[in-house]
Subunit: 293 residues, 2 copies
């Protein structure tokens, strides 16, 4: 039985999902958040569906005893490669992803135009999955959908580069060249890291292209889902400024995570709890010792 | 009992170690090679010593039944973070790494100069470990050692970018600026991926700086170790051109590996055998069902 008291769980390969957590904190300040960053296995963006599903399954199994009222897969790659699998495997848990909300917002942003041109930049695995194309064409079957993998953006952002960096600018000009010449109506930032270089993307694309931040859209979608089910907390930020808690877990190096997280969350956090990869595997394994006597 | 008949095992986080395998194939064409690329867990370069040691331990345990006459950790990060641990944990297996040979070659290349200036470019984790500095200072205690993490080079190379790419050129000019102004004698390419953009590094550094290819040096070191122990195969490439076998294993997406491997090995290979991450964990776990009755 899900109650309003449970936390919202946000899961990601590493840091990118913090942009979703940040948007959730702003939209729903009274909610308790749990964040799981799978930093031992990151990135997911160049890995196969089976491998990524294996990682995500373990994380949901790990979080399940904390009774989350909702689990959001705040990673475009993981959503693209395994959201339907996870929804099917965990019927007792409410699970959503980051692609449907982004696709929906892209179609809305395209307005009444019957044949809009919508671009998506994402990781190699997200592009290969074609999940964005499907989600957009379901809503606007005549849309022209252009996909481009931009695999250097995540490592650039994790290295600390921002919109002012000339290497970011040059790489974006290379990646987006084809999209600029096709005169896009809308460009979806199809990876939760990308909002951190949104300024550079806007500069390169010009001001006629609407940019859709998939992290922002995802947070709004979670809020809507919980509101509809009457699972939002009654209490709101009280007079003393008390807000929901934020607890995080990682599979590697909590200190490194805490340092990098400050840039994504625009606030300092305590170092997260370390969950060793091997403990996740053992938890998830259908091992003989778990068979009840 | 090690015999000349066993294979040489080359292990890496992914593709980079193939530059070592390539150099070994050239130096010792009669030897059988086993390659293990831990592609589900790559990259190692931004992960912690405990996590990387956990991955490498599993791989050595997996390879051990194949009776390798030597295991070479063909990854600078893994060597920097856990070679001594692996040597201690597997006394029955002969294990070496890629840093000592590179450091040795750097000191030789610096010639008789009492205070040479030696630069090393590597991953974030290799730089943090200070392993190269220690290895160089043991041999030339007055050397000036400059370290620089160059975290974008691996994703750039894995994306297929080469020395002619303007993004590679610009990133290298940023990373190497400090080293150019310090007038290096020698620069060590402290990651087995980097030989693939050696031309660009040489262009940026100028022709007065000697470049040390850690992959090449590592292969020569393995050949020397086996020769000294009389473990090299007697047979050599025979008249029909028959050479040692090449068998590879990966933890994710064999087809993607085979495609990318062609660039590193300068030859096509069959898709490797897939070893799922979960099977590695189960193999390595001190599980109850392994306790003998």
């Amino acid at each position: 039985m899900k109650t309003a008291a449970g936390p919202i769980a946000v899961i990601d390969s590493g840091l990118g999902g913090l942009t979703v957590a940040d948007a959730l904190r702003k939209a729903l300040p009274a909610e308790d958040l749990i964040y799981f960053g799978d930093t031992a296995h990151l990135p997911y963006g160049n890995k196969s569906p089976a491998t990524v599903a294996g990682f995500v399954r373990q994380i949901i199994q790990f979080l399940s005893p904390m009774k989350p009222k909702h689990v959001v897969i705040a990673c475009n790659t993981a959503t693209a490669l395994c959201l339907p699998t996870m929804v099917a495997e965990f019927p007792e848990i409410s699970v959503s992803g980051v692609i449907e909300p982004g696709a929906r917002a892209a179609v809305v942003a395209a307005g009444a135009k019957p044949v809009p041109t919508i671009g998506i930049i994402a990781t190699e695995a997200t592009v290969r999955s074609k999940a964005y194309g499907r989600a957009i064409l379901q809503r606007r079957s005549m849309a022209q959908v252009l996909l481009r993998a931009t695999p250097l953006l995540v490592p650039m952002i994790e290295e600390g580069r921002s919109s002012d960096d000339p290497v970011v600018d040059l790489a974006l000009r290379q990646y987006l060249q084809g999209m600029i010449s096709r005169k896009l109506d809308v460009l979806v930032l199809g990876c939760t890291h990308y909002p951190l270089v949104k300024k550079a993307i806007a500069r390169v694309m010009g001001n006629k292209v609407r940019l859709i931040d998939s992290a922002e859209q995802c947070a709004q979608d979670v809020a809507l889902r919980l509101r509809r089910k009457h699972l939002l907390r009654e209490v709101n930020v009280n007079a003393s400024g008390e807000v929901g808690s934020f607890q995080s877990f990682v599979t590697d190096d909590p200190d490194r995570f805490a340092t990098l997280a400050a840039r994504f969350l625009r606030m300092k956090i305590r170092p997260p709890v370390l969950v060793e990869p091997r403990d996740l595997y053992i938890l998830a394994a259908p091992a003989p010792w778990k068979v009840s006597a």
